[in-house]
Amino acid sequence: MERKLTRFAAARMASAFGSGRGAQLGPLRLVDTAPPSIPSQDWFAVAPLLSGICGSDLASVDGRSSLYFEDIVSFPFILGHEIVGTMVDDGIAADGSALTKGQRVVIQPVLGCVARGLEPCDACRSGEVGRCGCLSHGHLKPGLQTGFCHDTGGGWSDGHLVAHASQIFAVPDSLGDDDAVTVEPMACAIHAALRAQAGADDTVAIIGAGTLGLGVTAAFGFLADTGRAQRPARLLVAARYPVQRQMAAKLGAQVVDPGHLDRAVRSATSSLVVGRPSGRGGLLSGGADVTIDCVGSAESIAEALRITRPGGRVVLVGMPAKVTVDLAPLWHREIELVGAYAYGSEDVAAGSEVTFDLAIEMAGSLHTGRLVSAAYSLDRFEEALAHAGSAGPRGAIKIVFDVRPKRAVTQRED
């Protein structure tokens, strides 16, 4: 990714024809470049195997990211923060265990204080590395994550990237590469599910059934099945496309057409519609205890505020940019609007656990590699991004780059 305003503008225009189309004209280029150097002690080189395409990646490629991120990225950078790779040499993992050359690892990409050689801030000290505020300080150039920082490289590379020991987690042999590449988004999903603070009697509505929406759906089941959190009484997932609907149903959710989510929440919670006999677009007298917005658009946030009960909670998981939303219901109904970004450590029933450890366990038990629909080589990045940008309509969920040697493009069966 290069910092060229003309290319950002072109990408933004191109993306009007579909998410991911910015790859054709925008700031993303496929180049040969020297691998990043090891910044300091406790940093190790990792050779990517698979690297996912995330919604935030598409926003970057399409020039639609919020200007908020301008000071916490450093150009040029190599995209890719959902990564499973192999150790280039022996190394050390986040838990202090030894790693051997060739061993498979996943990268927890947040570049917090420890990775930056800083004294841990309050957030990092308490394990909330996702909340680290020092993302432009220390011995690294600015970058909220690997994949957005000039100095670390990223997963969309067939060379190697560098990762601090605190970022590296060993992959058990029982996990396939497909499962492992979903560990990072599943960690986000687990964090989001726990941010919901849903109780056993609660109704939870999830807007969006892409990787994150399905991941959060899966996370509720995983956390309940393992006794780490309560299972909400009702889990409604608004899923538009057949593949999303099938997957959400397999994960135990009540699947709802997005156009009818408000009606489904209304009937699930025996609410009334305020002032709209048709029920269309009206505010609910009650509503979901928690709504998890995995889209992050003005429309989805507005809908979340409409269908959440007074005193309820809206968790914003999908990455928003600048949006215009009427916050009157938030004020009047005293709804909590909370963000859910990344991971760190989580308070679960048994105590505190590292989110990535939970995600690795979940990826293994639920085989979340099922979400990976297609893999592309880097030289077909334009196709890959176009596919990712229209994943739902094309019957896909997660698109990844496959940089393993001698691998052709593959299309997964499910």
Partner: protein, 529 residues
Amino acid sequence: MRPRPGFVLEVDRSTPPTLMWKGEGFGLVKLPVGSRVVYAPEPFEALDDPEGAIRHALEHPTGESEPLSALLRPGMTLTICFDDISLPLPPMEAPDIRQMIIEAVLDEAASAGVDDVVLIAALALHRRMTEPELRHALGDRVYDAFAPHGLLLQHDAEDPSNLIHLGVTKHGEDVEINKRAAESDLLVYVNINLVAMDGGHKSVATGLASYKSLRHHHNPETMTHSKSFMDAPASELHSANWRMGRLIRDAGVKIFQIETTLNTDTFPGNFQFLQKREWEWSLKDRATFLAASKALDAAPPKMARQILHSIKAPHALRSVYAGEVEAVHEKITADVWAQQGVAVAGQTDIVTMGLPYISPYNVNSILNPILVACLGLGYFFNLYRGKPVVREGGVAILFHPTRPEFHPGHHPSYIDFFEQVLTETTDPVVMHEQFEEAFATDPWYIHLYRTGHAYHGVHPFYMWYWCSHAMKHLGRVIIVGGDPATVRRMGFHPASTLDDALEMAKDVVGPDPTLTHLHTPPLLLADVT
């Protein structure tokens, strides 16, 4: 000239194509040679003096009843209940038969010095009528005399303060009906017997009942064992209503029942060709058919609906009886069969039905997919006595676009039923057990039923239950022209043409099936031997 009876035509090479309704439009379909077409009898002549016939009925009661005038006295409470918007179909040209009868009853009441009179639309769980609909049914004079004073009510099955529990039948059925009606010194019920299942004890026991009461017979078990609804001795729905009606009577509710039959003159003026036999169409009929069918096909569905729902039927009063419920009903039902009955010899492998734009539950509204199923499988399928027209394991082919369109104000719970229930199950028993109560007790649906113009939350379940017998009886249901996703969600099979449908049907009934087409409307009742 004496109207000709209904008959069964056998299609041969010279038979012209058959008129086929397909929702908000119609076309001509060439049925296979050898098919049978069941034509309704021609409409009976209207009574020369309907007002005189009504007055005669009121003063010469049927069964063990005194004349109306003898039942009226000063100081008494009188409640006049009447059938709602669901009858007749299409709505009749003014004056509506309800207006004519209620004006006659009110004249008698005024003469007798009765001044505590309340009118109640017997909605059961149907939607409340709008002011224009009430004005059309009752006339401006009655409406303006009662409505402004709060004396024109619409039955509210969710108003506990105006319901009374009269007891439980031997079968354990709660009987809970409108309190004002039950506690009045006299309850006059004005009934339109459009088909043979209308009227009798069903008028009060269903029309004025609560959900608590209705659920005892509006369920899959009862509906499956009603073979058919039009054949009283074979109808469990009829039996349940009779048990309840007799309990109401024995509880001391004094009912003076007025039942009426209309002739089957269904379409006015230029649309008369819709009730003619195709080979008798005049040049003008053919031209009108062409113009109307092309215009309706070209019009957006909303506009086509508006055109068709503006049609008022030239129905005319054919007979009227008043007095004791069961005696009145027996006579009227015989008259309905006389007007609508058609002898049909033997069953068929395939029955075809063109579904029109209207059913009892979408007057001035949209025939949504659930109502499409109900009209075809709940109503048309059940227009028989003896045996169904189609054999067990046979195929029903319906013609209707079956778009996933709903009237949000009239049918709010239907939308959720379609999205939340039919996506899980199409089995009436399963949905009865797993979903019905939540819909029936949903406070928003109750709110809309009581204050808006919405059918009760449980109503789509009842519509689906009406199909129970047909769904159990048939080997396959095919909808020609139906939206494929919608049709499949309902557990049926979409087809693009009759030929496609016949090919699909042959998988079920074999390679050389017999086919019978029900040429309705106008209404007919098949007496299948």
